[in-house]
Amino acid sequence: MSIGLEHYLILSAVLFSIGLYGALAKRNIIIILMSIELMLNAVNIAMVAFSRFVTPALLTGQVFAIFVIVVAAAEAAVGLAIIIAVYRNRETIESSKIDLMKW
């Protein structure tokens, strides 16, 4: 049984679901950010698989994956800076305890 597009898409769905569970169920903000990185990687796998199997000559999916990586890098830098600023002010990185704006 040769490896086709569906295999890569199901792998991407598995990875995205694990990341979704982590982002919803975890309290530590750093783990939540790591789960978001997992989801972005899952999306990249799906796009590169489409690029390989549906439009092999155009490479549009790989170009989009590069842009996703750019956005992920910017998101990680700003997100971790926010985490450090929150820790400096409130001495915690637990998402349930960061409730200054909760009325």
Partner: protein, 162 residues
């Protein structure tokens, strides 16, 4: 044949490492599992004959984002306390499971227009001509550069001592 074996091994590593990230209580070990997951994703790109993207994945994710995450873990000193689950653990698991079921059902029942053309062999030059060439993505590329600059400035402003 070798491609299939490589795919199954890499897929097993990816899924195991991702589950480790969301299950482990030690944040630092979770970050190490995340790095392993990034490396295996780079291997998946190689099986998809996306060599440039595999190099970018290793340079940016394994080399850059992992260092940022580990630095944040060190600076927040919450490693012992770990990463406990919140009260919504079971509903979150159910939501992820239902989401996975719907996605799998949809993508198995879709007929994809799979092309049998061979992949472009070294992708770097082809991606460059797609990005910079005529009718390409030169404006999004410039906007991505501005976004990175804004992210760098924003990160510096956020973590600066008052």
């Amino acid at each position: 044949m070798g491609l299939e074996i490589a795919f199954w091994i890499l897929a097993a590593i990816i899924v195991a490492a991702a589950i480790t990230v969301v299950v482990l209580r030690n944040v630092f070990r979770a970050a190490l599992a995340l790095i392993l997951c990034f490396l295996a994703v780079a291997g998946i790109y190689i099986t998809l004959s996306a060599d440039f993207l595999a190099a970018v994945q290793i340079l940016i994710y394994v080399g850059g984002i992992s260092v940022l995450i580990i630095l944040a873990i060190m600076l927040t000193r919450d490693v012992q306390q770990g990463s406990p689950s919140n009260r919504l653990r079971v509903p979150a698991f159910l939501i992820a499971l239902v989401f996975f079921g719907i996605m799998t059902y949809a993508l198995i029942n879709t007929v994809w227009p799979v092309s049998s053309a061979p992949p472009v062999a070294p992708t770097t030059a082809a991606i460059a001509s797609r990005l910079f060439g005529e009718g390409g993505y030169i404006l999004p590329l410039e906007i991505a550069g501005v976004l990175l600059l804004a992210a760098i400035l924003g990160a510096i402003v956020l973590v600066r001592e008052k």
